[in-house]
Symmetry: D4
């Protein structure tokens, strides 16, 4: 049976990835998840830690962002589905960047966010094949998309 | 031995997919089939069922069609061969849409329909590498294309 | 100023193309329109007329559809925007095929049809950036998209 | 002489586009600028204004974002250079989305923002070929890139 | 009005190119023709003549074929339509090579040859949108494809 | 260890494919071979045998060539290396077509033919990364390319 | 008549570009040349001059190389033919980088260098359609490729 | 777990490849390495050894470079990450060529070289996602990129 690659982009401060993964495990779906490195400090400092310190924060950040891009671009390139989650706080421009990047590659895009962000995310949502609010909805979409299972319909 | 991915698009009211699959199993061909969700009501309602109800039928349908597209575009993108079946009834514009979509991606397209639709389907047929009427012909094509077996010729 | 290429696919029995063209001329928009050959008999017979008669209608149609494809695939490939119109009558599978073809090429797709076809066209509509009912709406979209003009907003 | 297409994405509340255009005119550079519709209300309402009102704000926004996408995706697709400006206020997720979209298409990306946003935009900046703070820097880049002119070096 | 690029590949010993060009001029069609260098000796010797003599015929030929490829690949890449003519004599493998090359690029392919070659060219013909015998048929196809003109139908 | 896909196109009357396969087996190389159907009559008649007889040889051949294309285009699309063999007899235009097709897809092309055809095949050879005369040379290339083994050099 | 875009990459210390341009002007060929900025100091310092000084030479160079890439990648992307010249001195890794970049894009590559560099440049030469030593040879290739003119053959 | 393909291009006189491979084995990372043939004489002579001797060194080298390209282009095409190492000696234009080639294909590029080459490699470095000096840094990048492990951060 075909394996589905699902990339989970965006917010890193709540356990939404774990919730999706638990739901998918429970449903026994053939999904391989990938994601950016979600350890905040490691993600910020990976560049200087490996490649050498920078006195200027701009280059400190540039080095880190480039090293992270080795991972993220490769995994987004592999993905069948890219889920982008926008949380309540922070600018999260990298999440929106990933959504645009995935969209231009023709990936199936699913956006997850609360109702407060609806207007601000309208261009991102318009590029998506589904807009959801909860991890449980992602699991249900995967169960339907992969297995054709839909509660109340297919037994 | 190479596995062949065959996507079976179109008509969902007769057992043509099962007939092809049975024939392929009997011939022991290395084929992995995929298809849209063929449960009509689930396919119609998957969007609102998972993402929330819509009072307006247009958005009800839009949500469902987008969720189904997560599945169908991914699987068509994976396919080596796309078979599109047009039945006797209904508009079946999604079948013709899939044929155009697959054709632009350079997929090997096989169209299956009865003689009544020949003129109306001429542009679709012209994009195909084979036009057939029965599931058995699909099985024979797969047996020939994959194994080089042709009844009366190769033993 | 940039010129926009707009391909007008689909129904050939009403004057919707002329209405759009007249509206665009009145608004003085930099648009170059293209379309399939809309002379029904010529379109049906172009293959046999140029390449030689066929006793079998299947090959008669195939020859014609292939010659027409020289035109249509080239012009859709050139288009920035592909408009597909579904009329009240006939199967119009070539229109849906064009929509799928344009969609896979990443063209901006606009679908035009009456409310009766809403459910049957839901997959096609879901691939579109706009769904309209009248030629006048197409003209307004072009005026907005090209010039940023929107009645009641921009003077 | 070659014409350069430059798309100006992002913040719409200050006159940065006009400043770049004035500078480019003064330098007599062969540049054709393009941009999203920058009339805020027209951009928000274009969908419902042309395609019909929606009681639900989500679909109101979706319709508008899709119509705007006809313009923005076409023009970004045409661009040699995509400039994305992040202002002081608002979420500006559409700007970051455009940056990701342009990046995946291989466009030359220039990002413009103040020093406050440096850390939050590190992934976007890392995808850029230049990060600037002022319109004047954009003009200087264009003068150098197109003409090879650099103040203090080339006379 | 759109200009059509038509590449004329293949046989160089008869005046078929001139006949097509004369017909297109008479019909006043917006077509720009291109072709390989048809001066046989120049085509054979261009490599050694410009780049230096080779004692070994294999490298003599290689140098020439590579220099010719600068022209032919560029012009085939530009073409909307690639016409490949097979004459009565010689192996003409470069013509078949061009047909395969153009086909993989998705060009509209027209093949011209006499009835004697029908069986030997079946794979090439199967990749074509039209198979013709005479230059006059090419002109008629262009007139139909570009202008929608078909003798006996459109006045 | 990586598996290499090698497509063997062209001449079907001598045992060159078997010789290459035997050599590769002896060298224990991780190669998966593919090829067109090499049963001449089956290849000629597969279309009419499965899809129905045709009184006109042109359509008989067209049907067969299209069915064969389902196999050949898929397998060439999969290949890392495409070997095209030209024999002593016949036109072999399909071989040259395959070479052009593979070349436009960027496949590594190896051409095999005797010295008599050197001049006639110069354009095909010029697109190749190696030109050989014997199956043994193909085996040696594969052993070198995959394992870095070269007789007299690497032990 | 078609215009040819020719990008002249590599060595910036001799007048080879001017010699090619003069020859092309004399032959009245429809060629538009492009090139990197050849003012050495401007090219080195463009980044810091426009975007701000850097104490670390690594970032000084990075900023400049990125700004130059806006120009070079765009112009190479536009080119039909990329000429790469290797001079007698310096590492010239950017020239070899451009050759690899152009090759992967499928550009027609011409390499120019003296006989001393033959062995060291063998991989670069192997990707080229012509290897020359003098600007005059480039002019002759262009005259042949564009006009079919070859001294001693075509009058 | 996903396997990562890493291609190791460039310098062949020190044991940097073995050091990276040892480090990756120690960290038990799912990486498949590939590389050009690093046996210098075999790499130089593979063409003439298999395809026949050449009296002219230019063709001797051309044959070898083409045979090597069968391997290198295929493996670079497969790679997720391309590492290019520049050593202290030699021109190493093939390394820079590979970097340009990989960059145009959108591969994640890592460049390894000593500080002496910093200025000469600025264009190559500017195309990279990381610039390192030692094999150990490559191993650390792979451990971070694949597993999210960063010494001092993730335990």
């Amino acid at each position: 049976m075909r394996n589905w690659n699902v990339y989970l982009s965006g917010e890193i401060h709540t356990a939404w990835r774990e919730q999706i993964e638990a739901g998918v495990r429970a449903a026994d779906l053939p999904v391989a998840f990938s994601a950016p490195v979600t350890h905040h400090e490691a993600s910020d400092d990976c560049g200087v830690s490996i490649l050498g310190a920078e006195p200027d924060k701009f280059w400190h950040d540039k080095k880190g962002a480039k090293v992270n891009a080795i991972r993220t671009r490769t995994l987004i390139g592999d993905a069948d589905i890219v889920v982008v989650r926008f949380g309540e706080k922070y600018r999260q421009w990298n999440a929106a960047f990933d959504a645009g990047y995935a969209s231009a590659l023709g990936k199936a895009l699913i956006v997850m966010h609360g109702p407060d962000h609806q207007h601000a995310l309208k261009e991102v949502d318009a590029a998506a094949l589904a807009v959801v609010e909860t991890p449980d909805q992602i699991v249900k979409i995967l169960d339907y998309v992969i297995n054709g299972k839909l509660a109340g319909y297919t037994g």
